[in-house]
């Protein structure tokens, strides 16, 4: 396969879902926590890649991974404290929210954008991170809404009376997360084909 095709895969939406699979599966039991997770990941990605773009010439190739993970950790701590202080409803919407927000610090999603930032210019970095983050946010909110409607017959906390008798408890379980995310990824595959999942290098 040519190098050109590989480059196209690097911008495919299914790859974004793969790299952000941990928050996309764990925090999509309700639409509310999905919004929190998506927005959190968007903010961490944007801030980390902007910082890495500013540090472009200063970071050696060998320590790029360590540097970007540590920068992302710093922003994760800051944003987690901010979310906990200002939006406690979001913060406590999900039992394990703290753990998974912490885990975003080592997310391959953030690292991939940060790595691109050290190669590209400032403007391109901001545009690319925003696009990736917003794509991810939209997909995870869809997953969260579907799982909430199927599993609890509510959406963003509002009750849907006609769905009340037809809830599927499995939708809120890990299995439901995998299936709904797979369907969303399949739709993403139709919109924008993602040919070489297996030749992906690195994380």
């Amino acid at each position: 396969m040519s190098k050109n095709e590989c480059r196209q895969v690097k911008t495919g939406p299914a790859l974004l879902l793969l790299l952000g699979a941990c928050p996309a599966l764990a925090l999509s039991t309700t639409a509310l926590s999905a919004v929190t997770a998506g927005a959190f990941l968007l903010a961490v990605t944007l801030l980390t890649s902007v910082t890495m773009a500013l540090l472009k010439g200063l970071v050696a190739k060998e320590i790029k991974l360590a540097a970007s993970v540590l920068v992302a950790t710093g922003y994760t701590v800051l944003l987690r404290l901010a979310v906990g202080a200002w939006l406690p409803d979001f913060y406590y919407a999900h039992g394990d929210m703290v753990l998974y927000l912490n885990a975003i610090a080592v997310s391959p999603f953030v690292y991939r954008q940060a790595e691109h930032a050290t190669e590209n210019g400032f403007g391109k970095t901001v545009a690319e991170s925003l696009l990736a983050g917003v794509c991810f946010l939209v997909s995870i909110v869809v997953v969260g809404a579907v799982r909430e409607i199927l599993g609890a017959a509510t959406v963003f906390g509002k009750e849907l009376t006609f769905m009340k008798d037809y809830t599927i408890a499995l939708a809120q379980k890990p299995f439901g997360g995998f299936v709904v995310l797979a369907l969303v990824a399949a739709v993403a595959n139709i919109i924008r084909p993602n040919k070489c999942m297996d030749c992906k290098k690195g994380a």
Binding site: G20, A21, V69, L70, N102, L183, N189, M197, D198, A203
Partner: protein, 190 residues
């Protein structure tokens, strides 16, 4: 002893890190044929997990208790350091380079997740009091991860020969496979 056995079985199978807690699931789903052998990668992850949770437990217990803000950065530094150590060991002693596996361990939320859960800053019902329990929990979590990684890669390698609808190729099929393994594991409870 019975409790310890239940903890091990639960961490390896019922509440597996990759498939029911979703920590490190990216590495499992993105596992490709050409790179590192899955069992080798899984054992390297286990070693990193045990080493970093020992360090994290010691520091969290004796130095960091009052200052929870610093827990995450310090644990991340431990994970990065231990990953580098394991990679060095593989290169010098085993003469077997991890290659892109380095990024796969360092960017693996399961490794960080074990340390965080053991220090009690994650889920409420998973706090381990003693040092020994912490080590056992980390070891069991790592072995469960290695098991899932090997099983999943074996299934994926077989599925590569089958033809699937165009939209389902790649990630959707990976997710469904992982989902069914997770469904099978969730039937067990200890």
């Amino acid at each position: 002893m019975k409790e310890m056995l239940a903890l091990i079985m639960a961490s390896v199978l019922a509440s597996n890190f990759a498939l029911t807690r979703f920590l490190g699931v990216e590495t499992v789903l993105g596992q490709c044929k050409s790179t590192v052998k899955p069992l080798f990668l899984g054992l390297a992850v286990t070693a990193t997990m045990v080493l970093s949770s020992i360090l994290s437990w010691v520091v969290a217990e004796w130095a960091l208790c009052p200052c929870s803000v610093l827990i995450l950065p310090i644990f991340v530094i431990f994970v990065l350091g231990m990953t580098a150590l394991v990679e060095l060991f593989c290169r010098k002693v085993l003469k077997n380079t991890l290659g892109s596996g380095f990024a796969m361990i360092a960017l693996n939320s399961a490794v960080l997740g074990v340390s965080l859960l053991n220090a009690g800053s994650g889920a409420k019902n998973y706090v381990h009091e003693s040092f020994f329990t912490t080590v056992v929990a980390a070891l069991a979590a790592g072995l469960g991860y290695a098991l899932v990684l090997s099983v999943y890669t074996a299934i994926r390698n077989r599925m590569d020969d089958c033809s699937a609808p165009r939209a389902m190729r790649g990630l959707p099929l990976s997710l469904l496979t992982a989902g069914f393994i997770s469904l099978a594991l969730s039937c067990l409870s200890f």
